[in-house]
Symmetry: C2
């Protein structure tokens, strides 16, 4: 009785659910503290104190209707104004509230922008490895996701192959840096080259190609690594931001889109995105948290929580003989599996009560993603298992 | 550059935006207090005190991660459990948390359920007058909205015409009671007959037809009027609820779906709706407000705020000679225009600084919707204008 498209989805997701159930089963047998779940990108750093303070401040403002009521579908004007100013201060841009659309997280924002842009069969290019949900977000609007194969040397995008895959049907390119699942930050050199290719191809085909930058991990960059701000390099840029990781508020569903005045047809895109936000059923980003994040634009989770995990896990795995790029951002390690079959390796890991995700889910078989947004102790306790794993298969 | 579908949307919405701009223009000339905006269904009753108390209580709980973090896409288990119990207590049903899916308002819930159910060209029937957004929600998933013409005698659904419009392609029927825009509550007699027709047609065609009940106004029923609980009358019922009006929290985007175990293929529907919530980009209903509403299931806005408005406006308009059903619920009056052309009547009203919406927007020309969720004083001050209007055209 459910739609044909959703029948496939239920089929696929039962694999993930099986893993989830397996985790619960293992926890019952061995105790939750002896099961090491590195499968989910669920932030474990506490929201900064500023968040609670901001909630209380907003609640003390006397007008309850303006806290919990409807506003424009694009969000409160003062909130959008504060966000535009904050971006301008940080990156030397010149946005106004008109360029900002408050969204239900980055996932909501990406759906809004694909609804706005895509005609059936339009192509959206992404670089493997990539966040698997892009498949769904593009398919929701009958677009086609075109995947550029991974460059496993340093996990910067494979620009040679990209150049060949841009066609007159390419409507958008979606990138994610710091990257899920690799933790790699796309370098300024990459961004400059990528922008040049896009400009060339736009000229060649007489089209506009939008660069959609999915940036939930922007604030999670270690050792003062810089994450280039895309709109400075390429005019047709649309940025999808989320406070899920920067403020550890993933459940609150709060983020925004930045639609630059430099982007072709920007006035229609802004108007249409606003309508898409409404008709897709988001209506508006949650109102209290719009006001809360506007008060927390300079706040950030304690990066050290993640950095300590990164150092511990990366150094240990490399010492055991695993091959892995040291991530500059996000909270994932993307590790080459010591046997060829990454799905089989995940199963072997499960026998050690270690739950990790196969690279195939991200368009990059032969690797596994280890989400290290977990307690430090969980990593310490899992290390003997990781060590035994590689010893057994070698 | 925006998609063809969205080009149409931008075109249509510019009419609404023009009205909004007109309202702002009038406010500048005559002062905001002399412009009477009855165009929006934006609740003006304050959220009950329980809401703020609940927010503070939740914030005092020591685990910030469980307040703002991810949970299952369907929502917190304890919240869904509390909601199921509350429904069971009120309506004698037997739901469990398994039947409840927390959503980003009712709009999010309706999109989730149509994504779950509809194949391209599937038909969804609704009864005019109806909430105009249903057109978009159905079109988002390539379904066809089939409209049963209005019964302007008492605005109960036109069941004779309905019977003829059910076909083998009918996948769902969507109803909204108390109704936007009429304020009418569909009677128990209506619901019983509607259910009988659906059962007959299911048998005739060998299909399943889902009855989707959109219930944001359930708690806004005056004079102790009863709003039948649909799942008790028809097995294939799916209910979309929202706290937007009952707790005056429209900006917070919090509601839920009830998917009954009695519904055909319910297990797959529940699994698929869960996935649809994720892949459409909602991911989950806002987390803090899940916990807040679970603490406010017996709270409600002060209905008297709306009831006083209803009495004042209804009695005055009828005294002036307007024809109108006295609404039993919601916060709208649906008034027959004293001239045939309702769009023209809206323009005449605008000349008196009164902003109202033409019935054509709800599939019912010849009428206007007056949203009386405004200050009592606004109604008092607008009454001379309403009086002058009917005198001038008669």
């Amino acid at each position: 009785m459910i739609s044909i498209k959703m029948q496939e989805q239920v089929q696929n997701s039962s694999v993930i659910r099986a893993m989830f159930e397996e985790g619960k089963r293992l926890a019952k047998i061995y105790g939750a503290e002896n099961v090491f779940d590195f499968s989910l990108g669920n932030p474990n750093a506490k929201p900064p104190q500023e968040v609670k303070t901001a909630i209380l401040e907003v609640l003390e403002s006397d007008n309850l209707m303006s806290i919990h009521g409807y506003m424009n579908n694009s969000g409160y004007e003062d909130v959008r104004d504060a966000i535009a100013k904050s971006i301008n201060d940080k990156f030397g841009t010149a946005f106004t509230q008109n360029n900002i659309l408050m969204t239900v997280g980055a996932a909501g924002g990406l759906n809004v922008i694909f609804k706005t842009l895509l005609n059936p069969k339009d192509e959206v290019i992404t670089f493997a490895p990539f966040f698997g949900e892009y498949r769904n977000y593009v398919k929701n609007y009958e677009g086609e996701l075109v995947i550029v194969s991974p460059n496993t040397v340093d996990f910067q995008p494979n620009l040679e192959e990209f150049k060949e895959k841009v066609t007159p049907k390419t409507k958008a390119v979606i990138i994610n840096s710091p990257n899920n699942p690799t933790g790699v930050i796309y370098s300024e050199e990459t961004i400059i080259k990528l922008s040049e290719i896009l400009r060339e191809k736009q000229k060649e085909f007489g089209t506009d190609i939008y660069l959609v930058s999915d940036e939930p991990y922007r604030e999670l960059a270690y050792d003062s690594a810089q994450v280039p701000y895309l709109s400075k390099y390429y005019a047709n840029t649309i940025i999808g931001y989320s406070f899920s990781k920067s403020l550890s508020l993933p459940g609150e569903r709060i983020g925004y889109l930045v639609i630059s005045d430099q982007a072709a047809d920007c006035e229609n895109i802004i108007a249409a995105a606003n309508i898409a936000n409404r008709i897709l059923g988001f209506v508006n980003a949650p109102s209290l948290f719009q006001r809360v994040v506007a008060k927390c634009l300079d706040a950030k989770v304690d990066l050290d929580t993640y950095n300590r995990n990164r150092e511990l896990l990366y150094n240990a795995l490399v010492a055991y003989g695993y091959q892995c790029i040291k991530p500059e951002g996000a909270f994932y390690l993307f590790v080459k599996t010591p046997i060829e079959n990454d799905v089989e390796f995940c199963n072997l890991a499960k026998q050690k009560n270690i739950l990790i995700v196969s690279g195939a889910a991200f368009g990059c078989p032969g690797y596994v993603r280890i989400a290290y947004c977990v307690a430090y102790r969980t990593i310490e306790n899992a290390l003997p298992g990781f060590k035994a794993l590689i010893e057994e298969v070698q």
